[in-house]
Symmetry: C2
DNA sequence: ACCGTACCGTACCGTACGTTACGGTTGGTT
DNA sequence: AACCAACCGTAACGTACGGTACGGTACGGT
């Protein structure tokens, strides 16, 4: 191993990453009917290795979700030159990024399996798919957006009491019924132009609601 | 049979309704790990009857979802004396009703199983759980809200181009991240006062965005 | 009294899949 | 060369569960 300094970290070998990518692809194609055998076959590895590396089926699913989550890290926002245009650009980019992720096949598949799992007890085990998705989805978005909102307020461009409330309203304006419709299997293509249009609209509406 | 005139209709006997209520309760408790045997035991009926009445497991699930859907019919809005207050009352009541339903255990359980099902191919079979939930959830809400919005515009209280777009914004302002968080298993209690507060807030925000 | 219908309870079957076990191959170390 | 660890492929095991079959009971009609 190269750097084993982290405390209790992933430390995935390349081989294991390949396996997780295979599992991810399978999850997108086949949903939760993904089977250990199918993953082994797809990744050209033995089931024994799967069990050695990931413990059991849940461990594999968890590792897969975390692996995908580790791939989508957001980009921060620079603090200097923060004026109204910068705020608008920032919000629009957030909204568009979010819609793009949300409507992607991978996100839909992952959210589906996490929702499915959230129904079957055995929560609290910190290996909790729903928690992981929540943590890397809405919550991560909130954390990333919060500094932007605070900067906006600091600069006198926004007015709100709690950043959390403001974020959740922005979330609603951006996502609307898109996610639930996709999760429920509604055919719903979101073109790039539609995404950008929606991002602009949500941002405009947000600015109206939270203008000083 | 009493009246076999309908083409392909529900025509549930009382006994069958009892069974579906049992299935519903089980679905709330156990999620999708509901098994034919458990339903039979809970409802004190034989598996043979389950298969005779509902065909197979999917048929039972579909019937259960439809049965629940048939129970929550909305109340219409009267057309006369439609002023600004009536509009506000109407919107707030819609929002509060919706939040109440949405955050209920039954709704969460049903949406979970529908999302799970939406991942497993065999769509398009018109016996489509996702479609049913969508139809009786967001789409039904849209149909119920549309006349209110149109009345509001007619009365010069609202300004919008497409009622659908306006509805979806209202949806976003009301639901925000509540539903996805609940579906993903986030502990999130929504008290009655919180519901009413949120309904008011969403309505206010909506009126600001769509004022003439 | 006899029969048909509808139903309950339960035993049973087939299969899919999670999990384990094992024999064989490869590649690096001594 | 000998050895060992890691891994592949596959066969096998156990079980949960969807689906079916069948015997037994209650009841209304004739």
């Amino acid at each position: 191993m190269k750097s084993d300094l982290e405390i209790s970290e992933t430390a995935l070998t390349e081989r294991q990453k390949d396996v997780l990518d295979a599992a991810l692809a399978l999850l997108v194609e086949a949903g939760d009917k993904l089977t250990m055998t199918s993953v082994a076959r797809r990744a050209s590895c033995s089931k024994e290795s799967l069990y050695k590396w990931f413990g059991d089926r849940d461990g594999l699913l968890t590792a897969t979700v975390q692996w995908q989550a580790s791939k989508v890290r957001g980009v921060p926002v620079s603090r200097d030159a923060f004026d109204r245009d910068a705020l608008i650009i920032g919000l629009e980019r957030f909204a568009a990024d979010w819609l793009r992720v949300l409507s992607g096949k991978i996100s839909v598949a992952l959210n589906r399996v996490a929702v499915t799992h959230a129904g079957t007890d055995k929560h609290e085990l910190d290996r909790d798919l729903g928690g992981i998705v929540l943590e890397n989805g809405p919550f991560a978005m909130a954390r990333r957006l919060e500094p932007v909102l605070l900067l906006g307020r600091e600069a006198g461009l926004l007015k709100f009491e709690h950043a959390d409330e403001a974020f959740r309203t922005f979330f609603g304006l951006v996502v609307r019924d898109v996610q639930i419709r996709l999760l429920l299997g509604d055919r719903y293509e979101l073109s790039e132009t539609a995404i950008e249009r929606d991002a602009k609209r949500a941002t405009e509406q947000f600015l109206i609601l939270y203008k000083p």
